[in-house]
C-alpha cells in the first residue's frame, strides 16, 4: 500500500512545489506559485464546477439507488440474487466500454434517435450527445452500482433486525415515519460509504466528460490531464491534483464518522 500509493503521491506533492521550465519539464526549485495560481486564476472555477458536478451526480445516484437497494433488500431470496447479479454485471465490463455503449445509444445516429425517427415521434434527430446533460448521464450511469451496493448492505442489515421496525410500529409510528425515523438513520453508514464511493471518482473523472461532453465540458480531471499531457506543465497539474486529493481526504475524514456500522450489531445484549 505504502509503496504503491505513497511514493507516487509524495513525488507528485514534491513536484507541485517545483517550477515549470520554459519549454515544459520540471525545474527543481521550490515555489508556491502553482498553488497561488490555482487559487487566483480562472482555473479555480474548474474545481468549483467539478465539485458542483460531483455533488449533483452523488445526490442523483443516492436518490435513484435508495429505492433500488430497498427493493433488493426486501425481495425474497431468489429475486434478490437475480437483482444483485444485475447490479454486479457492470463491474465486469470496463467503464470505458460501457461509456461507448451509452454514446451509441444517444448519438445523433444512435439507437434512441433512430427509434424515435422511425416511429415519427420526431422529425429531426435530437442532439443529446456532447452536452453537459450527457456528461451527467454518463457519470451517473457508471457510478450507480457503487451507490447501490453499500446501500443494499446497510438496508439488509436493518431488514435482518426487524425488531427495530417493529418497535417503531409498536410505539405508534406508521410505515413512513418508521422509514424516516428508524430505517433511514440506521442506513447512514451505507449512505456515507456509497456517497464517498461515487463522489471521489466523479471528482477525478476525465474520460466521461471528454467522450460524452465532447470537449465542451472541462472538469478538474480534464484540466489535470491537459496540464500533464498537452500543456506539459507537470508542476501545475500536480498542484491541482494535490488540491483534489486534499478535498478527498477531508471528505473521507468527515464521512468516516458516519460509516461506523457497529450500531447495528449491538442491542442484542
Amino acid at each position: 500500500m505504502i509503496v504503491f500509493f505513497g511514493i507516487p503521491n509524495l513525488y507528485m506533492l514534491f513536484i507541485s512545489f517545483m517550477q515549470v521550465g520554459g519549454y515544459g519539464g520540471i525545474v527543481y526549485h521550490f515555489t508556491l506559485a502553482n498553488y497561488h495560481l490555482l487559487f487566483h486564476w480562472i482555473e479555480f472555477k474548474v474545481i468549483v464546477d467539478s465539485l458542483i458536478f460531483s455533488v449533483i451526480v452523488t445526490a442523483v445516484c443516492l436518490v435513484v439507488a435508495y429505492p433500488f437497494a430497498y427493493i433488493i433488500a426486501t425481495s425474497p431470496a431468489r429475486r434478490k440474487l437475480i437483482l444483485l447479479f444485475l447490479v454486479i454485471v457492470p463491474f465486469w465490463t470496463s467503464s470505458l466500454i460501457r461509456t461507448f455503449a451509452l454514446m451509441f445509444l444517444i448519438s445523433t445516429e444512435g439507437f434512441i434517435n433512430s427509434v424515435l425517427l422511425d416511429f415519427h415521434i420526431i422529425h429531426q434527430p435530437l442532439n443529446m450527445l456532447y452536452t453537459l446533460g450527457a456528461t451527467y448521464l454518463g457519470q451517473f450511469y457508471s457510478m450507480l452500482p457503487y451507490m447501490i451496493l453499500p446501500l443494499y448492505a446497510s438496508l439488509q442489515g436493518v431488514m435482518d433486525h426487524p425488531e427495530y421496525m417493529e418497535a417503531s410500529r409498536d410505539l405508534g409510528a406508521g410505515a413512513s415515519k418508521t422509514f424516516w425515523r428508524v430505517v433511514a438513520p440506521l442506513t447512514i453508514p451505507g449512505i456515507a460509504t456509497g456517497s464517498l464511493l461515487v463522489f471521489i471518482p466523479t471528482l477525478g473523472t476525465f474520460f466521461i466528460p471528454l467522450l460524452m461532453g465532447g470537449g465542451g465540458v472541462v472538469l478538474v480531471g480534464n484540466f489535470i490531464e491537459s496540464q500533464f499531457l498537452a500543456a506539459d506543465n507537470w508542476p501545475f497539474g500536480a498542484a491541482a491534483s494535490a488540491l483534489v486529493i486534499v478535498i478527498t481526504l477531508l471528505l473521507i475524514g468527515f464521512s468516516s464518522r458516519y460509516m461506523n456500522n457497529a450500531f447495528l450489531e449491538e442491542g442484542n445484549a
Partner: protein, 376 residues
C-alpha cells in the same frame, strides 16, 4: 375476577406456511390483571403476543382489546406497547430519545415530552442516564429503558416477551419485584411471557399454560398448583413425580392404581374407568419417609440428599427404573443418611391421577421437575 375484559382471544389460530402453530386459542384477560403465558420453547407464546400486538395477523378467530375487534388493525394503531425480548432499543438514539420516541410520533410538545420522559425514567430508576448512548448501558439498564419507552405511551396493555431472560439470576429477581411494583403503580394490564415457572408463579394473577399451541389450563398460580388439569400441567407447574399406571378397581371414591412398582389409590377423577391408563402425580412435598404409620407404598434406598435449612431434598431409588424425589421437613442433618433403606409413603388424597394423554410427557421412571432442573 371482576372488572371488564381488556383482551379477548376468541378461537384464535395461526398458521405459518402449512403448519398450524396456534390451535383454537381462547382466553380472557381482565383490566388490570397480570397474566402470564407459560410454556416450553416453541409452544407459541411469542406468536400469541405478536398477534395481540399486531405484528402477526390471526389466521382464524378474533383478538379484541378493550372490546374493540383488532382484526386488520396495524400495530401502530393498537393501544398496546411491547417490551421486546432483546429490548430492540434504537441504537442511533440515546436513552432520552428512545424513551421520547412514542410521544414524538404523537407530536406532543417538547416541554410535555420532557416531563413525561423524566417521569418514565424515574419510575425505572434511570433518571441519571438520559444522555447515555444505548451501547453504554448494561443489560439490566437497557431492560429498564425498554420498559420506560413502552410505558410512556400509557398503553392499556403492556406486553412483555421474556423480558428478563437475558439477565443474571440476581438481577432477574430484582426486576421481578420492580415489574410487580410497576404493575401496581400503573394499574394497567400486563401480559407476560416466560418459560420459567417460578417466575410465572411468583408474579402472576393468572397463568395460561401452553403446549404445542394449545391452552392446557388457565388459572391462578394456587389453583394450577393444587388442581392441575393434566399431568403436563402438573409437571410444568412446580415439581412432581409422575408414574404411569392402570386403574384396576374403583372403590368408595378412590381409583385403585397399579403401576409397575406398586399398588396405590388416588381420588377418582374424570376419565377414570377400570382398565384405563392414567398418570399418577405426587408432589415431592407430599411424600413422607420411614415412619410406617400407614402402609408403605414402596421401599427404596436413599441415593442423594441435599440439606436446605428447614427442608431436605431426598432422592429415593426404588430400582434402576424408578427414583422418587421427596421434600422432607427436618432440621436435623443426621436424619435419612445416604444408603439407608426407607419406606415411601403418601396420602392418597395428596396424589392426582390424570387420564393418560396420547402423547404423554411422562414415563414411569421419569422425574419431571421444574423445566429448568428436570431430572436432578
Amino acid at each position: 375476577m371482576s372488572g371488564s375484559v381488556m383482551i379477548g382471544l376468541h378461537g384464535v389460530t395461526k398458521n405459518f406456511a402449512h403448519t398450524q402453530v396456534i390451535r383454537e386459542f381462547s382466553l380472557d384477560i381482565y383490566q388490570g390483571e397480570f397474566v402470564t403465558l407459560l410454556g416450553a420453547s416453541g409452544s407459541g407464546k411469542t406468536t400469541i403476543l405478536r398477534m395481540i400486538a399486531g405484528f402477526e395477523e390471526v389466521s382464524g378467530g378474533r383478538v379484541t382489546i378493550d372490546g374493540v375487534d383488532m382484526t386488520g388493525l396495524p400495530a401502530n394503531l393498537r393501544p398496546v406497547n411491547s417490551v421486546f425480548q432483546n429490548y430492540a432499543l434504537f441504537p442511533h438514539l440515546n436513552v432520552y430519545d428512545n424513551v421520547a420516541f412514542g410521544l414524538r410520533i404523537k407530536k406532543f410538545p417538547e416541554k410535555l415530552i420532557k416531563e413525561r420522559v423524566r417521569e418514565s425514567l424515574n419510575m425505572v430508576g434511570l433518571d441519571a442516564f438520559a444522555t447515555r448512548r444505548i451501547r453504554q448501558l448494561s443489560g439490566g439498564q437497557q431492560q429498564r429503558v425498554a420498559i420506560a419507552r413502552a410505558i410512556i405511551n400509557r398503553p392499556k396493555v403492556l406486553l412483555l416477551d421474556e423480558p428478563l431472560s437475558a439477565l443474571d439470576l440476581k438481577l432477574r429477581k430484582e426486576m421481578q419485584l420492580e415489574l410487580k411494583r410497576l404493575h401496581r403503580e400503573l394499574g394497567i394490564t400486563f401480559v407476560y411471557v416466560t418459560h420459567d415457572q417460578e417466575e410465572a408463579m411468583s408474579m402472576s394473577d393468572r397463568i395460561g399454560v401452553l403446549a404445542h399451541g394449545e391452552l392446557l389450563q388457565y388459572a391462578s398460580p394456587e389453583e394450577l398448583y393444587a388442581n392441575p388439569a393434566s399431568a403436563a400441567v402438573a409437571s410444568f407447574v412446580g415439581e412432581t413425580n409422575l408414574f404411569d399406571g392402570t386403574v384396576v378397581d374403583i372403590v368408595k371414591g378412590y381409583s385403585v392404581i397399579q403401576t409397575r412398582h406398586f399398588l396405590t389409590k388416588a381420588p377418582v377423577a374424570e376419565g377414570h374407568a377400570v382398565g384405563s391408563a392414567v398418570v399418577l402425580s405426587v408432589r415431592p412435598e407430599a411424600i413422607r419417609l420411614g415412619d410406617s404409620v400407614g402402609a408403605p407404598i414402596c421401599r427404596g434406598i436413599i441415593m442423594e440428599r441435599i440439606f436446605a435449612g428447614s427442608l431436605i431434598r431426598i432422592w429415593v431409588r426404588v430400582d434402576e427404573a424408578l427414583t422418587i424425589q421427596c421434600l422432607i421437613h427436618g432440621t436435623r442433618n443426621d436424619e435419612f443418611p445416604i444408603g439407608e433403606e426407607v419406606d415411601v409413603i403418601w396420602e392418597p388424597n395428596h396424589s392426582l391421577a390424570f387420564p393418560k394423554e396420547i402423547k404423554s410427557l411422562s414415563e414411569d421412571s421419569q422425574l419431571l421437575g421444574s423445566n429448568e432442573s428436570a431430572g436432578q
